[in-house]
């Protein structure tokens, strides 16, 4: 059974300044299912709607963001949650951090700079569960970070004393302290170097493998998805254009945008010239008609300019939204 079921979600930013109204269609018709015990990657460039999608999934919808259509249903064991119609107080008590937690991009901004790390742990555990005995709690936390392979003295350090990679791993430790069923990681390693990135992603994978929960990993770096994710969805201008198991995305992708993302990656040992994609990412306040990728697509057809391609199921959990695929299977 799916842990999360999203159907045809549309979330727009609506602003009105001096009588001029503007609608930014950040998430425009996204459907997805997350299964228990998998790492699901979402890839896409900046301003393609990745972060808006996360906001809706984690239940932090605030104006000017508005939900226009669609459903978001969670199934935590026997506990069902309709995220779009849910009391925010109950969300805080019984869902957030216990069932869904979040690893942000910049760990410096989640850790209080003037308090030791252990105090941040204390705040979070106290808010969501309550602490009876501080001594027991300290020992529990010490064991917990030790189990994650972090040196116990990080608990007594201030955030600025830790290196960037260690700080990000502390943020992951914080996010997983209640063993949530879903961990949402938004660009968790984008600010880090390759060596540190590897260490942080290894920790995330280890935690996932041990507690068998689901990780929603959002990053624009395709190489990270290749190494970490089980399934990958490619997002472009507010829509999913392709979704498949990682091996298929990297071996047999069908959408021209996915193919470009993969072929443009430089590799050590290969100096052959690589083309870059022309044009600019679309403006979501005024997106192109039809397929939103068509102004930059090298294989554009006449139908692409006018008709939005539907998501086609190719079997083997491979879905793609492209008129070329439809033409080929016809």
């Amino acid at each position: 059974m799916a842990l999360l079921d999203v159907q045809n979600l549309r979330a727009y930013y609506e602003t009105q300044v001096y009588g001029i109204s503007r609608t930014v269609r950040a998430v425009d018709g996204v459907s997805l299912q997350l299964l228990p015990n998998e790492i699901y990657g979402v890839a896409g460039e900046s301003s393609c709607g990745k972060t808006t999608l996360i906001k809706v999934l984690s239940g932090t919808v605030k104006p000017p963001l508005k939900i226009h259509d669609g459903t978001v249903h969670y199934q935590f064991g026997s506990y069902k949650v309709d995220m779009l119609h849910f009391d925010s107080e109950e969300l805080r008590h019984s869902v957030r951090w216990k069932e869904i937690s979040y690893v942000p991009q910049g760990s410096m901004s989640v850790l209080n700079p003037v308090r030791r790390i252990i105090r941040t742990f204390e705040d979070i555990v106290d808010t969501h569960q309550g602490i009876q005995d501080k001594k027991v709690f300290f020992n529990q936390m010490r064991d917990y970070v030790n189990k994650l392979g972090l040196p116990p003295d990080v608990l007594n350090a201030f955030p600025h004393q830790l290196s960037g990679g260690m700080r990000q791993r502390v943020a992951i430790a914080l996010a997983t302290v209640f063993h949530p069923r879903l961990i949402i990681a938004d660009e968790p390693t984008t600010a880090l170097d390759v060596v540190v990135q590897r260490g942080v992603l290894q920790l995330l994978k280890d935690i996932q493998a041990e507690s068998q929960n689901t990780v929603l990993l959002v990053t624009h770096d395709m190489a990270v998805h290749a190494n970490v994710a089980d399934r990958v969805a490619i997002m472009y201008a507010g829509r999913f254009v392709e979704e498949a198991p990682t091996k298929i995305i990297f071996g047999a992708s069908r959408h021209p945008y996915t193919q470009h993302l993969i072929h443009s990656l430089p590799v050590i040992g290969d100096k052959s010239s690589r083309a870059s994609l022309g044009g600019a990412p679309p403006n979501l306040a005024n997106p192109p008609n039809g397929c939103r990728f068509h102004p930059r697509c090298a294989q554009v057809l006449e139908i692409c300019r006018t008709q939005v391609p539907a998501m086609v199921d190719l079997g083997g959990r491979h879905r793609v939204a492209c008129h070329l695929v439809k033409e080929a299977t016809r």
Partner: protein, 331 residues
């Protein structure tokens, strides 16, 4: 050798910062005895690669005459950069050495049109008398980077995509017709689909405009793609430097090997080596203060001698490597 054969000659440069209060505190050697040079006759792309805190940006400041080295010299066209004092000399130097920065949205004032910076640069460096005569120069550099004046005129920074605006900042750097461009992480803020446009642009500048580029990055894959030579930096030291094919195809230093191995490959098979667990430093400052090789605390092949004295520079297999592992072969 005649000093004028060298466009840029960095000789044993060291920069030390003092952290902490007046009493106590600690010394941080941000750049430690670094030397390299660029030939005038043969333009090339020279990459400085390393993780954050490796001293890349400090070295860039030294090359740009923002900082003067505490030891050693930076020679540009045979002249000591730290001796540049007079306004005329500074202008002359700025004309020949131009920077491109990491975040294009911070480079440009959000309330000013981007093209104004290009006109200003043209007038400031004396390539044009006024706005009208500057227009063809601006258009020419924009065409050089694959844009045109019609496309970007009257636009503010937020109206351009990250790739476009970063190309604008390269175009701005090209106006004084520099011999050397210093690009500090020029693609790290740019989306993957636009990244190759910038990187290809540096290639074109080298091949067609004969501009040398010092490319500072932590992304080894793009470094391999564009550069001729590379230097891997770790805590202020060049641990391995040489032709990019030699250094990245067959890395010798354990740190370079770790870097290359850690680079996630865009291929889902072959994950085994990447999944092998690695040791990370807890704090940054600890490694700076380390005696001997800075990598010794994390090195899988550490020896007793590594923690006692700085390793020597060894010539091996067409590159320079700072490691005791190869010291015997050199003798």
């Amino acid at each position: 050798m005649n000093a004028n054969d060298k466009l840029l000659d960095v000789q044993h440069v060291t920069q030390i910062f003092h952290i902490g209060g007046l009493i106590g505190g600690s010394r941080l050697v941000a750049v430690n005895d670094v030397s390299f040079s660029l030939d005038r006759a043969r333009p090339e792309i020279f990459t400085l690669a390393g993780e954050s805190g490796s001293g890349k940006t400090t070295l860039a400041h030294l090359l740009l005459h923002d900082l003067d080295p505490m030891k050693g010299q930076v020679l540009f066209e045979g002249r000591d950069v730290s001796q540049i004092r007079k306004r005329k000399q500074v202008m002359e130097f700025m004309k020949k050495v131009q920077p491109v920065f990491q975040n294009p949205f911070e480079t440009f004032n959000p309330l000013r049109r981007v093209e104004d910076y290009l006109y200003d640069t043209a007038i400031h460096f004396g390539r044009a008398k006024d706005h009208r005569t500057a227009a063809p120069i601006v258009d020419e550099v924009l065409r050089n980077v694959g844009l045109s004046l019609e496309e970007v005129s009257k636009r503010y920074p937020h109206e351009l995509s990250g790739g476009q605006i970063q190309r604008m900042s390269v175009a701005r750097a090209l106006i004084p017709q520099p011999d050397l461009i210093l690009a500090d992480e020029p693609v790290s803020m740019v989306d993957a689909s636009l990244r190759m446009a910038i990187v290809n642009l540096f290639r074109k500048l080298r091949d067609e405009n004969k501009v040398s580029v010092v490319y500072i990055t932590h992304d080894l894959a793009t470094a391999y793609y564009i550069s001729d030579r590379i230097a891997i930096m770790l805590r202020g030291n060049f641990v391995e430097s040489g032709p990019v094919e030699a250094v990245l195809d067959r890395p010798l230093h354990p740190y370079t090997q770790l870097l290359k191995e850690s680079l996630p490959s865009p291929n889902p098979s072959g994950l085994e080596s990447w999944a092998k667990h690695i040791a990370l430093g807890t704090t940054d400052v600890k490694e700076y203060g380390r005696v001997g090789c800075k990598f010794a605390g994390r090195c899988p092949r550490v020896m007793d001698i590594c923690t006692k004295a700085d390793p020597p520079d060894v010539q091996a297999d067409g590159r320079t490597v700072k490691c005791y592992l190869y010291a015997d072969g050199a003798k």
